[in-house]
């Protein structure tokens, strides 16, 4: 089981991540990828986002989430790329990709990783708008999504 985690300010190549997930074992039957983009917000008043994180703790947390996923499902590889710093509308923020022999394992592990990334990994988003900048509030729905896995 392989885990690759990268925290970077540069944009990433979705295709390179996918190709790595494709090629690392002949046992792979299913690849699921998630990608988060900076979408329009504040009635098109939004210009972009600034992502802050807690270096060190972020990597540890994400690795721990991946290990938990691998205990639940027969995963072959997991890859996470999360950007930090300033991003404009439409830019890629985060990539999570999982491969497995079976599709359900790949789907569920990818969703699990995203749910816990959202509630446990120390990233904070600042919204940059034409008028002002403000810290984005956490959403109760994200906590609920992570909690459904604990049942």
């Amino acid at each position: 089981m392989n885990i690759s985690i990268s925290i970077q300010s540069d944009d990433f190549s979705h295709n390179e991540e996918y190709q790595k997930l494709c090629n690392d074992s002949p046992r792979i039957g299913a690849i699921v990828t998630f990608c988060g983009l900076v979408r329009e917000f504040d009635d098109s008043n939004g210009k972009g986002l600034f992502l802050e994180h807690f270096a060190g703790m972020t990597e540890k947390t994400l690795e721990n989430i991946c290990k938990q996923a691998a205990e639940r499902w027969p995963i072959i590889s997991m890859r996470i790329v999360h950007r930090i710093g300033a991003m404009e509308l439409g830019e890629q923020i985060v990539f999570v990709g999982v491969n497995s022999a079976h599709r359900k394992a790949a789907f569920h592990a990818c969703e699990f990783i995203m749910d816990f990334l959202k509630t446990d990994a120390p990233f904070w988003k600042k919204a940059l708008t034409k008028d002002s900048d403000y810290w984005v509030e956490a959403k109760a729905s994200d906590t609920e999504a992570a909690n459904t896995w604990k049942k």
């Binding site: 992502l51 703790m57 947390t61 985060v94 995203m114 990994a121 990233f123 904070w124 988003k125």
Partner: protein, 82 residues
């Protein structure tokens, strides 16, 4: 000595991203440090909010987590990545 760290909106409110705090033999759990900071009054009393998260040595903890001399204790608001 404890190394304190503050992130995101909390850092902005405190106008401080961290400080060293002398070890005090009364310190036993994370809430002991939180109380010392809150006692400083505005803006530090924002740390009394129940939503403030605490990580000890880069692992998520809470008010009851045991602390030791030399620990790094981070306070931050709920996370919003992804």
């Amino acid at each position: 000595m404890l190394q304190l760290r503050f992130f995101a909106s909390l850092r902005d409110q405190l106008n401080c991203d961290g400080e060293s705090l002398d070890w005090n033999d009364n310190f036993s759990i994370a809430s002991d440090v939180r109380k010392v900071l809150v006692a400083r009054g505005t803006p530090w009393d924002t740390l009394s909010k129940s939503t403030v998260l605490i990580a000890i040595n880069q692992e998520m903890g809470n008010d009851e987590t045991t602390i030791n001399d030399g620990d790094e204790i981070a306070f931050f608001p709920p996370v919003t990545g992804g």
